[in-house]
């Protein structure tokens, strides 16, 4: 299986800094090509949010360089090994960012959604409200938001519609750097050929619908990196036109 990747981010219309960090990388390993995509939506006073989001991205890079090759020496990747190493890494980042914040007297934190695509499986770690979608014949959300309203909806205390309007829609259940303990969600599955995997920050999806995302980013539309970039930026512009104020980021992985 082959991959084409792209990443786009925009500061948005109102914020002074872009606290989102994202990275998509094709990696050559003994087990064939893989893609590591990580997207973090930082938060915190003034310029500190991007410190948190960048730190987590760095940690995942470090993992891909140091730990992943060791895992690839085995005949196949083990789900448990990845979830364990990622879990430890996120816990460690949470501790570090927290102590950094304590030292500087600021509160900062970041969401993280990380996805590793191998020749057969994908692995996703999620903390917070960034999302991964799979676009094939249709569009499917692979992650579950760790937000207060998502939990209320799941518990039946709120409808989807109420959740969208609720004042608490921006309250995360947890994030890296601001929670006492982080409990990341892990998702696994098989990688589909001729599919698009999309990672996005919440800014990318508030104002546009999954249907619109699918129309622009479906596998048929994306045949090279240029097209991927072009479509991503078009959607980011549409978000801004419709009044989105947050930083907007999207990363794409096209399989073929």
């Amino acid at each position: 299986m082959n991959f084409i990747v792209s990443a786009s981010t925009d500061i948005g219309t109102t914020k002074k800094t872009n606290q989102d960090s994202l990275s998509v990388k094709v990696i050559r390993t003994r087990l064939g090509r893989m893609v590591l995509a990580v997207l973090c939506d930082g938060m915190g006073g003034l310029s500190e949010g991007e410190v948190a989001s960048a730190a987590v991205i760095e940690a995942f890079h470090g993992w891909a360089v140091e730990k992943l090759p060791l895992l690839c020496e085995k005949p196949y990747l083990q789900d448990a090994a990845i979830s364990e190493q990622w879990g430890e890494m996120v816990t460690e980042q949470n501790r570090r960012i927290k102590s950094y914040g304590a030292k500087k007297g600021v509160r900062l934190g970041t969401t993280v959604v990380a996805m590793l695509l191998t020749q057969s499986r994908y692995y996703i770690l999620n903390v917070g409200d960034s999302r991964v979608y799979e676009l094939t014949e249709g569009i499917r959300q692979l992650t579950a938001d760790q937000t207060f309203v998502a939990r209320e909806v799941a518990l039946g205390n709120m409808t989807e519609e109420e959740a969208r309007m609720d004042e608490r829609r921006n309250v995360l259940l947890q994030c890296v750097g601001a929670s006492d303990e982080v409990y990341p969600d892990m998702f696994y599955g098989d990688v589909r050929e001729n599919a698009v995997y999309m990672l996005c920050s919440d800014g990318f999806r508030h104002e546009i619908t999954p249907g619109e995302i699918y129309d622009s980013l479906k596998p048929l539309e994306l045949f090279d990196e240029q097209m991927m970039k072009w479509h991503s930026e078009k959607l980011i512009e549409r978000n801004k036109q419709r009044g989105e104020r947050d930083n907007i980021s999207v990363a794409l992985v096209r399989t073929f």
């Binding site: 006073g45 007297g105 608490r168 921006n170 309250v171 995360l172 006492d180 303990e181």
Partner: protein
């Protein structure tokens, strides 16, 4: 930033930086003239977007706070302001916040938590009763200082209100907004005293269980689910404090304080104690009843034990002796009888020896009595007495075993043995009565047949009766729900006719016999259940043979 060692306002020498919050830094300072330590809180300019506006708020706020005086609140004694900084001088509180105690030791002892809760409730009540009422809004372990003397003080109470409002435009994390009550996200207007009560409840939950309600599973469960040793009274208080709907919580700190002071009284243990006291009061009257109750309890627990034993024995039972043991343990339960019957007939044959094992039950089982002597126990009598329905079931099943599986040559033997059991089951089972009648008939025929002087005439009278009974049996078959039983009865009818072809032809016309058989054959063919198709075919073949036999006998 204040410099360590610098003199503030000509009075306070800054000794050390002791704390840092989101918008403020706290220093320890010494009033060297009075030789007294104070805390100075510096509101940071760099953390605030519009410092001037905030400062105006701070002035109003601190002016109000200066008028407060409560043992669990640090008093604000001075406010120093200029263009660049805003300093609040207040009591220096020694000790550590409760969040630190939680971090280090986990859940806190219940008695301590309740004592702290009362102090917090008191200070919140004090704030709520000011005019205008002051709502704290940010109750959490990190804001409660545990002093060396064991008392607690509410800290972080001097920063402007604006900061306390949750800023929801940006993404925030549940952990950083504290134990925000559901209504707290709606802005200032909707929060009131009950908001603080919610947060205090969440704080108590965290303190007493060590579980942060802002972490998975993000909810406040009854505390005894986490630690069963905790008080049921405290559990009720915490649950009531943290109801989603403010209407369902304690409506004021006074109400909550009353509950905290009497938490033991809403405790299950306390209620039990009270009941005991009541029990002592009426003890003299109850004594007689109690004696009866004790013996009843003894009996019941013995029964309980018996039932446990029974289950164990039955589970392990393999030989007929094992089943006897189970039956002796509790003759009133039917499981062991039925299992024994199944064991003996699982090969579709009940041999003479196996038959005797069942018949032994009618005679009585040997058991050691309490003196160690062997005793015969009439288990079936006990069963009949205490479980009449079960007794009839057992007798019917055993009757069937003899009727259909008993490995003897003559019908007469089968019937007479089966009838011994069927007779006991006639109340519940119609077909049992029919079999008993036939058995009686066969008995008479046997007698007449075996008599020295053959009484052929009388014998044929009995055969005539027998023919009538076969008709009855056929009718009974129609009313039986179970397909298996119906097949068994039809088989039995065919068997009876087949072995008495000539005799029946003496008392009835061949056409009658044949029509009975053909009807059975046809009716069995109508059965739809596929599993018995083979049995049906077998029956039909046998009936065909019987019919041939009839025709040849007629000739």
């Amino acid at each position: 930033m204040l410099e360590i060692g610098s003199l503030v306002d000509g009075k306070y020498k800054v000794l050390n930086k002791v704390g840092q919050g989101g918008m403020s830094v706290v220093y320890l300072a010494m009033n060297e003239k009075a030789n007294k330590q104070w805390a100075i809180k510096e509101v940071r300019k760099d953390g605030i977007k519009d410092f001037e506006v905030v400062k105006q708020g701070l002035v109003v706020e601190t002016d109000m706070l200066k008028r407060l005086s409560h043992p669990s609140l640090p008093s604000i004694i001075d406010v120093i302001e200029d263009e660049s900084t805003f300093l609040i001088v207040m009591d220096y509180i020694q000790g550590n916040p409760l969040s630190k105690a939680l971090e280090e030791f986990g859940a806190q002892p219940q008695e301590n938590v309740i004592e702290w809760a009362k102090q917090m409730c008191d200070v919140l009540g004090y704030l709520h009763t000011r005019t205008p009422a002051i709502i704290y809004r940010d109750m959490k372990p990190a804001n409660i200082m545990l002093k060396p003397d064991g008392n607690v003080t509410l800290i972080d109470f001097g920063t402007a209100r604006e900061f306390k409002e949750k800023n929801l435009a940006d993404t925030t994390c549940l952990g950083t907004v504290g134990y925000a009550a559901p209504e707290q996200f709606g802005g200032m207007g909707q929060t009131d005293a009950r908001t603080d009560i919610y947060c205090l409840g969440a704080t108590l939950y965290h303190l007493v269980t060590g579980m942060n309600p802002c972490e998975p599973p993000y909810d406040i469960r009854p505390i005894r689910e986490i630690n069963p040793m905790l008080s049921g009274g405290l559990e009720r208080i915490i649950l009531k404090c943290t109801q989603r709907n403010p209407e369902d919580r304690y409506q004021s700190c006074a109400e909550l304080m009353y509950a905290l002071e009497h938490y033991e009284e809403i405790d299950d243990v306390y209620r039990k104690k009270q009941k005991k006291k009541l029990g002592a009061f009426i003890a003299s009257i109850a004594a007689a009843v109690l004696c009866g109750a004790v013996s009843g309890w003894g009996y019941l627990s013995a029964e309980n034990k018996k039932s446990e034993n029974y289950d164990v024995i039955l589970k392990r039972a393999e030989t007929p002796e094992d089943f006897y043991e189970a039956i002796l343990t509790d003759p009133v339960r039917t499981e062991a009888y039925l299992s024994l019957n199944e064991l003996l007939t699982d090969d579709f044959v009940l041999s003479r020896e196996e038959g005797q094992i069942l018949q032994q039950l009618q005679v009585g089982l040997d058991a050691k009595n309490s003196q160690g002597f062997s005793d015969s126990v009439d288990v079936l009598a006990k069963l009949r007495q205490n479980n009449p329905g079960g007794y009839q079931d057992i007798c019917y099943r055993f009757g069937e075993s003899f009727m259909f599986y008993y490995d003897v040559n003559t019908d007469y033997d089968r019937y007479s043995n089966a009838a011994k059991w069927f007779r006991e089951a006639v109340g519940e089972y119609q077909v049992a009565q029919a079999y008993c009648d036939i058995a009686e008939c066969l008995e008479l025929i046997n007698q007449y047949n075996g008599a020295k002087i053959k009484q052929t005439e009388k014998m044929y009278e009995e055969y005539e009766k027998l023919w009538g009974m076969i008709g009855e049996l056929k009718t009974t078959a129609e009313t039986t729900d179970s397909v298996d039983s119906r097949l068994q009865i039809w088989n039995e009818i065919n068997r009876m006719i087949n072995s008495r072809v000539t005799q029946f032809l003496e008392v009835t016309a061949m056409q009658d016999v044949i029509s009975v058989l053909e009807e059975i054959s046809q009716r069995s063919g109508e059965l739809e259940e596929s599993v018995i198709q083979e049995d049906v075919r077998k029956l039909q073949n046998e009936i065909a043979e019987t019919i041939k036999k009839l025709e040849s006998a007629q000739q």
